[in-house]
């Protein structure tokens, strides 16, 4: 029935809006400051920034292997 379809749709919308309304929000300036601080503090643990020591790199170029 088209009637109950609309009702279900509306109920789902309300549920979705309730979820969205309860999301914790902070100001953009605070969020961007937090992000910058996180990146600054954790930069030293990031292999993409700091590089991977050659001894631990499984993908480094190896000398050709010859099988006797």
């Amino acid at each position: 029935m088209a009637g109950s379809n609309n009702l279900t749709h509306a109920r789902r919308m309300v549920q979705q809006l309730k979820v969205e309304a309860s999301i914790e929000r902070i100001k953009v300036s605070k969020a961007s400051a937090d992000l910058m601080r996180y990146c600054g503090e954790n930069a030293k643990y990031d292999p993409l920034l700091m590089g991977i020591p050659a001894s631990e790199n499984p993908f480094k170029d190896r000398k050709p292997c010859t099988i006797l």
């Binding site: 953009v28 605070k30 400051a33």
Partner: protein, 329 residues
């Protein structure tokens, strides 16, 4: 010895930003509203640029937006032939005022009781917000689309700029034009400074300052490029202007000298306004962003903090600005 400054870039709009307005200074600070062609005007905290909310309801590009002094009400003018009044605290639409054509400009009186609108139907309308169903008072006279309409001289007179290349000063009660200024080119923007009764007008590459009572010319200044908008500092020390070359120019009002210019926007600047305390100015551009710039580069204010370079060598005597790690909410 120009110091580099990092503007606060406010993103969120998806189309060009065509108008912006500040509220007065309220106990909660001051606020900024931006009008955008995406139809969704946004309210932001004035000193940090933090997004507070978006007014949803218009069905077309929003050409004009304004806040009342206390930042409790907002008004917007749109291409959907309506002007809307909003509750700026809750974001609810309070009133929709139907017009016969695109509405370009909205302005509250000081007591927020009356709203002035002007647009492409060439008629100025005054709405009594305490009697919204009543017909507005209409003032006709312009021969083409009105770009900007402002209350002035203690809300007793109205200034309007139109595409007919005139600016007219009207008496609110007699509804007659008291003065008319004619130009060779279309006026691109108009700002009224109540304290000092100065009118700031831009056209072509010129920024002109007039006495708001007599419409006598005070002075004109020419810029390197076509200017779309200019704003005078509350203390009348400087004015800023922006236009087609994407740059923001800052001039000394007394000497008319260009002091600084700033690059940052990726498109022509459509609107620029000083904050009510004069500590920063905001610019809105074709690139869809608003940028907040410091007036006194070097001062700790809002999100700005003075950062000196690590080594003070003779060449590197700049002072860098960046938002600090700690922000007090």
């Amino acid at each position: 010895m120009a110091m580099r400054q990092t503007p606060l870039t406010c993103s969120g709009h998806t189309r060009p930003v065509v108008d912006l307005a500040f509220s007065g200074i309220t106990p909660y600070g001051y606020f900024l509203i931006s009008a955008c062609k995406d139809g969704k005007p946004m309210l932001r905290q004035g000193d940090t640029g933090d997004w507070i909310g978006t007014f949803l309801g218009h069905k077309g590009a929003v050409w004009g937006a304004t806040l009342n002094k206390e930042a409790t009400k907002a008004a917007t003018a749109a291409a959907d032939f309506t002007a809307k009044v909003w509750d700026a605290v809750t974001g609810d639409e309070v009133l929709t005022l139907a017009h016969k054509h695109i509405v370009k400009s909205v302005n509250f009186t000081q007591d927020s009781n009356f709203l002035l609108t002007g647009g492409n139907d060439k008629v100025l309308r005054i709405y009594d917000l305490s009697k919204p169903e009543a017909d507005p008072q209409e003032i006709a006279g312009h021969t083409s689309a009105i770009k900007k309409a402002l209350w002035c001289n203690n809300d007793q007179q109205i200034l309007s700029a139109a595409d007919d290349k005139t600016i007219r000063l009207w008496d609110k009660n007699t509804q007659e034009a008291v003065h008319t200024l004619s130009f060779d080119a279309s006026v691109t923007s108009m700002e009224y400074i109540p304290d000092g009764e100065i009118l700031v007008i831009t056209y072509g590459r010129t920024i002109a300052f007039y006495n708001a009572h007599s419409l006598d010319l005070i002075k004109t200044v020419d810029a390197p490029a076509s200017i779309h908008s200019a704003s005078l500092h509350p203390e009348k020390d400087f004015f800023v202007a922006g236009g087609d070359d994407f740059k923001l120019y800052k001039y000394d009002y007394t000497t008319k000298e260009e002091m600084e210019s700033y690059k940052g926007h990726f498109g022509p600047i459509h609107t620029v306004r000083f904050s009510p305390d004069g500590e920063l100015y905001a610019s809105g551009s074709e690139d869809g962003t608003l940028r907040l710039w410091q007036t006194a580069v070097g001062k700790t204010y809002g999100l700005w903090k003075c950062v000196l370079p690590e080594e003070l060598s003779s060449e590197n005597s700049e002072v860098l600005y960046c938002p600090p790690a700690e922000i007090k909410a």
